[in-house]
């Protein structure tokens, strides 16, 4: 006869966890009067902020997104208020139409870049992590540092190394990188852009590219209009006699200092943003990411014959596959509901909690994450990825320095991050927006793209690249 109702092969693999009382004041879902089921974004382990009940997500530090928006709005506002009336009168009424269209396009693509999930990979469930650990041949002795975990795959006759991510507990797919500012693995990671306040990755790269291209058109257009406006005024306009003769020595700029402000902003923006657009056009045409370009993954500088295995060897096909490819779905189910019978999860996707020990780790992680989300005291460049994101009971992870870097689109601001070592992150803040943009201009494009000449910018760009080389040498 049967001895027991059910078989327990391994108590840790029971599908229904034993009901426990509160395991944590913050991380636990309070058993509210039924009816307030929580969505998965509440327990999302990365450093992101969510609005509109999970519909909109941004990085935890919004960076200078308000500044970007402010600059665009102010410059365009000044253009419409001061330049358009004059130019409509003297040139054509198409000007505000074109300007308006470009402005709307720029703002929409900027907001989409900032608010879209860049391609975040959800963290591995505890079962998956355990399975991978078994495969890596962990002897179970956690008192010393394990060897670095990498896996090699061959893609298009090219050997690619996949690294193990200690935070997300999985082998990162090719072209995926872990952003330490957002504490997420992002697919096809390009860079973390402080100007848009979000990472740029697989899902929002096309928005980002459209944003910078349309912004370069927009700034060039405004610059052209302002210059035309001022030159028309200086010449006296069409039949208008100005007061230049009446007040010698006075310049038209003094008549309208705001126009001067516009001019200055546009002048610096045009060069830097045009440069950035050119650089990204090169990247798109050769199917590279900023991350790969900076690290020189496929440039063959080590002397080996390495080529980019993802490139289709045809500029047009590369452009189409990067910009017009199918739009992949978001892998983090932000607005899904947490299953009712479970306690807090890190991945937010699984319902299995095999181990009480794991449960407490996860709760601490969520507590820690929530704590981080709530305190805005961490300086952005000193922020480490959630230390409780790794199980605190696993000392191997604490001892293993796994430097993770996030590249920002300024190119000159790096977060050199390593766990277990108390190293201060190095970063460089350049003084002007122009230098920041110029730092990304390529020295020698191998494709025939209209890039602004590198000679005037060889100074800052080579300095910046040299500096980049320094920071990244630790990874090689």
């Amino acid at each position: 006869m049967k001895n027991c109702e059910y078989q327990q092969i391994d108590p840790r693999t029971l599908p229904t966890p034993t009901p426990t009382p509160h395991h944590g004041p913050v991380g636990d879902r309070p058993e509210e009067p039924k009816g307030k089921p929580r969505r998965k974004w509440h327990v999302f382990p990365g450093k992101n902020r969510f609005y509109c009940d999970g519909r909109i997500m941004v990085a935890r530090q919004s960076g200078v997104l308000p500044l970007t928006l402010g600059l665009i709005l102010i410059t365009s506002g000044l253009f419409f208020i001061f330049d358009c009336p004059f130019l409509v009168k003297h040139l054509t009424s198409c000007i505000p139409v074109i300007g308006g269209f470009l402005f709307v396009f720029v703002v929409i693509t900027l907001l989409q870049t900032s608010f879209t999930d860049p391609g975040i990979l959800p963290r591995a469930t505890p079962d998956e992590a355990a399975d991978i650990e078994k495969q890596i041949d962990n002897t179970g002795n956690t008192s010393y540092r394990p060897p670095p975990r990498t896996k090699e795959v061959v893609i298009n006759q090219q050997v690619v190394k996949l690294k193990y991510c200690f935070t997300c507990k999985m082998f990162r797919p090719p072209r995926t990188s872990h952003c330490s500012l957002c504490d997420n693995c992002v697919e096809r990671f390009d860079h973390h852009c402080p100007w848009v306040g979000n990472c740029v990755g697989k899902r929002n790269y096309r928005f980002f590219y459209t944003f910078i291209v349309s912004l370069s058109f927009h700034t060039a257009f405004i610059f052209g209009c302002v210059t035309t406006h001022l030159s028309l005024r200086a010449q006296g306009g069409k039949g208008l006699v100005f007061a230049l003769q009446e007040s010698p020595g006075r310049y038209p700029l003094v008549m309208n200092p705001l126009t001067a402000v516009e001019l200055v902003i546009c002048f610096f923006s045009v060069w830097s943003i045009l440069g950035l657009s050119g650089f990204h056009t090169y990247l798109v045409a050769s199917n590279l990411t900023t991350n790969e370009d900076i690290k020189g993954s496929w440039s063959g500088k080590s002397g080996e014959d390495v080529t980019n295995p993802y490139s289709q060897r045809n500029i047009f096909v590369n452009c189409c596959s990067v910009l017009c490819g199918p739009m992949p779905p978001s892998l983090i189910d932000r607005r899904g509901f947490l299953p009712a019978d479970e306690s807090v999860q890190t991945a937010g996707a699984d319902i299995e909690l095999p181990d009480l020990a794991n449960k407490s780790e996860i709760n601490m992680c969520t507590q820690g994450t929530k704590g981080l989300l709530e305190t805005a005291t961490l300086p952005p460049l000193l922020s480490t990825s959630c230390p409780q994101g790794k199980p605190p009971t696993d000392p191997t992870v604490n001892f293993d320095p796994s430097p993770e870097i996030s590249t920002s689109c300024s190119g000159a601001r790096h977060v050199h991050h390593s766990r277990g070592r108390a190293s201060t992150p190095r970063h460089t803040k350049t003084r002007s927006k122009k230098n920041k943009r110029a730092a990304l201009q390529i020295a020698n494009p191998s494709f025939d793209v209209p890039v602004s000449p590198s000679s005037p910018d060889a100074g800052p760009s080579s300095k910046a690249r040299g500096h980049k080389g320094d920071s990244f040498s630790h990874l090689q």
């Binding site: 078989q7 092969i9 998956e128 996949l162 295995p309 189409c320 017009c324 199918p326 779905p329």
Partner: protein, 158 residues
């Protein structure tokens, strides 16, 4: 060894989870979504190799279809670009349509093939497209524990 389940509901109510097997991604063709078709040893006693491989191959074909870059995807991309990508807010993309087909297919396979053998496939989208998770169940009512322990001990490091 006979762990016979008649339907998915019975599986969920009367069986206890014994083990999970994870089918990892196959990156040999780049970053497109493909899963390895290698037959895991834990399933040897549970399901025929051919059935398993057919399921994984069909899933791979679905994903290839979703990520195919061709005329339709170009059209979708250009149209989206011209509307400042606002069209993504209203329209369901081709990828999402194929994902729905995949969910239906997995549901079908679970009902017809996997549940009767005490297995359950989890849709990869719920695992971030990293793995295909196959849960192995043991019948609560069965008294034999040999197959259960063998499937647990079978998952040794490779």
């Amino acid at each position: 060894m006979a762990t016979e389940f008649h339907n998915l509901q019975e599986l969920r109510h009367s069986a206890s989870l014994a083990n999970k097997v994870f089918i990892q991604r196959d990156y040999s063709e780049g970053t497109t979504c493909r899963f390895q078709t290698k037959f895991p040893s834990e399933l040897e006693s549970r399901i025929e190799r051919k059935l398993f491989e057919d399921t994984v191959k069909t899933l791979n074909n679905y994903y290839t279809e979703a990520e195919k870059i061709g005329g339709q995807s170009y059209l979708e991309g250009c149209l989206a670009c011209s509307t400042a990508y606002l069209i993504f807010l209203c329209m369901e993309t081709r990828y999402e349509k194929v994902l729905k087909k995949i969910s239906k297919y997995i549901q079908e396979q679970n009902e017809k093939i996997f549940a009767p053998r005490g297995l359950l496939i989890t849709d990869p989208i719920e695992r971030g497209m990293r793995v295909i998770e196959i849960s192995i169940y043991e019948d609560r009512g069965s008294s034999g524990s040999s197959s259960g322990s063998s499937s647990v001990s079978g998952s040794t490091a490779r």
